[in-house]
């Protein structure tokens, strides 16, 4: 069972019910549950969307698109039924925050889905969980059943005359299905190959109807925003980055865990104060700041605010909020290799730059790690990755290329140390130890 952590600098909005037994619907109601959705029903879509816009909430799935704006793109009139789709595919390496929301506050996901539905005029919502999250799916299924039993879901919710249904869905193992259009394909019972955009899902989405797709954390933030007001939520965060976010700090820190910090919180403080600093008094080498697809920061680059804009300025991304901390013992080439192996494995194979590019990168970095490369191979790796950027059908290609470019750019010396038959100088590497015996 995931361990809950706590730190005085945390501002607990979305995590305030964690560990308090809120999977029980009675307890959830006691803790202000299902109040926001009733307010949403009585005040209507325009009020909801204006609160969401005022909140400055930006999508927690990775790209940081403003949620209120996304919802406002859905056409008011539509011949086809509209849908809300909650993205719980959570597969970006380094990311485990949605795991905790499902585990400790499933009704917040339901309530947020309902509010999104009311805002856009949808009568049906889907909550999609990655296939590995079976025990969390059970928790969600029970929460949905309890909400139906209370009459919160189904026909005429809260006596409003509005109907709303929620269906939970399991995936079956695929990172790419987290990409929103691939997610819709998967929910329609197909291979998770992305769709061409435009049209965007807000106009033509699930079953051809207008669809809002949001990350689990985005959706679970919604009831809190309506309860505390968009303006109050915005104030907690930094400029153009409203509220708080669940940051998962993993790797070589003393106190790994998921912490809820205000947007804009300093990354260095998050590592040293909140997570207790580098484990065992070792030196910090690098930080992958927002899941495996975000370009690495060196130890000197971490004095930066954790929001979408400040991280962008620092040449990387806030991404999924999964901060992976690496100490001096990590071989950056091996780390780059493990990263590209992942993307090569998860590439859906639909477009050539990604399918071939990830494969070549994996082969080249494997050879380099083993000592079989020469100087110009380092440039070739970078050249290959740079040529994938912006040339793939969906952003997975970029997600593979960007970190690779970052590793080569910032840790070139380590790549050079492997050249001309020398191989990996880091003894701790298990793959290498095995190769030696």
């Amino acid at each position: 069972m995931p361990r809950l952590v706590s730190h005085p600098d945390e501002v607990k909005i979305i995590s305030r019910r964690f560990g308090l037994g809120a999977t029980d619907i009675g307890k959830y109601i006691e803790l202000d549950g299902y109040k926001a959705v009733q307010a949403a029903i009585s005040k209507g879509p325009e009020w909801i969307i204006s609160e969401m816009k005022a909140s400055g909430l930006r999508g927690r799935g990775g790209a940081g698109f403003p949620t209120g704006m996304k919802w406002s793109f859905v056409p008011k009139q539509s011949e086809k039924a509209k849908y809300v789709l909650v993205n719980g595919d959570e597969s970006e390496p380094g990311t485990c925050k949605d795991h905790l929301i499902f585990l400790y506050d499933p009704h917040a996901v339901i309530e947020g889905t309902m509010i999104a539905g009311i805002a856009i005029g949808a009568k049906m919502g889907f909550i999609y969980l990655r296939g590995e999250y079976r025990y969390l799916l059970k928790i969600m299924e029970k929460a949905v059943a309890d909400a139906y039993a209370k009459g919160f879901l189904g026909k005429n919710i809260f006596g409003s005359g509005v109907d709303f249904d929620i269906v939970t869905q399991t995936g079956a193992g695929a990172y790419e299905v987290g990409e929103e259009s691939a997610l819709m394909e998967s929910l329609e019972g197909k291979r998770g190959v992305p769709r061409i955009k435009p049209p965007f899902p807000a106009v033509v989405g699930l079953y051809g109807g207008p669809t809002v797709i949001n990350n689990v954390e985005t959706i679970a933030s919604v009831p809190h925003i309506l309860l505390m007001s968009g303006e109050a939520y915005a104030k907690v965060g930094s400029e153009r980055n409203g509220g708080t976010r669940l940051f998962g700090i993993s790797g070589h820190v003393e106190r790994p865990g998921v912490y809820e910090l205000p947007m804009g919180y300093n990354l260095k403080k998050a590592i040293y104060d909140v997570a207790g600093g580098v484990r065992g008094g070792k030196k910090l080498k690098a930080v992958v700041p927002g899941g495996s697809s975000t370009p690495v920061l060196t130890a000197d680059e971490i004095d930066v605010g954790l929001d979408f804009d400040q991280m962008g300025k620092a040449g990387t991304m806030l991404g999924s909020g999964g901060i992976v901390v690496l100490d001096e013992t990590v071989c950056m080439v091996e780390f780059a290799l493990r990263t590209i192996k992942f993307y090569q494995h998860e590439s859906c194979g639909w477009c050539i730059p990604c399918r071939e590019g990830t494969d070549w990168l994996k082969k080249s970095i494997t050879r380099l790690h083993e000592g079989g490369a020469v100087d110009k191979d380092i440039d070739n790796i970078r050249y290959l990755a740079e040529n994938m950027l912006g040339r793939t059908f969906c952003p997975l290609g970029d997600a593979a290329a960007m970190p690779t470019i970052g590793f080569v750019q910032k840790f070139r010396k380590e790549f050079e140390d492997h050249l001309n038959g020398r191989g990996c100088p880091y003894k701790h590497s298990l793959e290498r130890e095995e190769a030696l015996v």
Partner: protein, 169 residues
């Protein structure tokens, strides 16, 4: 649709499938969950599973096959009764995830995607399972175990061997 007489699934699962296909605007949306639940019961996606799922949904067996091959959790061969999935992705990797994998290989005497001769265990190296802050982490079937050491790993495997392991389905 398959009648009670012809189904290869247990009456409970067959009833569940009867309902599942009605939950969505289109029946085909039930395909991925159906395959996974069928695998949970049968052990793998056999040709009989493909045939019945195709019939229940009203699509061709080829379509089922094409979807099936996309998803990494779906398999067309049996795994062990307890499928041990060790994460070696970045957070686990830097927290000795490979050590756990090596330990499991030695202890079970099998490699990646292999099954022990008694059919009890299989082993898989997997990508991130969403437990990064509690690394190194593994799953046995659907149950998570985290902050592992080789000693803890031994204890867990012993428990499963003795029939005392958790079994979420």
């Amino acid at each position: 649709m398959a009648t009670e007489k012809t189904t290869i699934f247990s009456p409970e699962l067959a009833a569940r499938f009867d309902k599942l296909v009605t939950l969505y605007p289109v029946r085909r949306s039930a395909l991925v969950p159906m395959l996974l639940y069928a695998q949970d019961e049968v052990g793998y996606i056999s040709t009989a599973v493909i045939a019945e799922v195709a019939e229940r949904i009203g699509i061709r067996e080829n379509d089922v096959q094409s979807v099936l091959s996309y998803y990494s959790m779906l398999r067309t061969k049996p795994a062990g009764k307890y499928n041990v999935q060790v994460c070696t992705n970045i957070s686990c990797m830097v927290c000795d995830g490979y050590k756990i994998l090596e330990h499991c290989k030695k202890r079970l005497g099998i490699g990646h995607k292999e099954v022990t001769s008694d059919g009890l265990f299989s082993l898989e190296e997997v990508e991130c399972i969403g437990a990064c802050c509690w690394a190194p982490a593994i799953q046995i079937n659907y149950d998570f175990y985290d902050e592992l050491t080789p000693e803890k790993m031994d204890q867990i495997l012993d428990d499963y061997k003795a029939g005392r392991g958790k079994e979420t389905v």
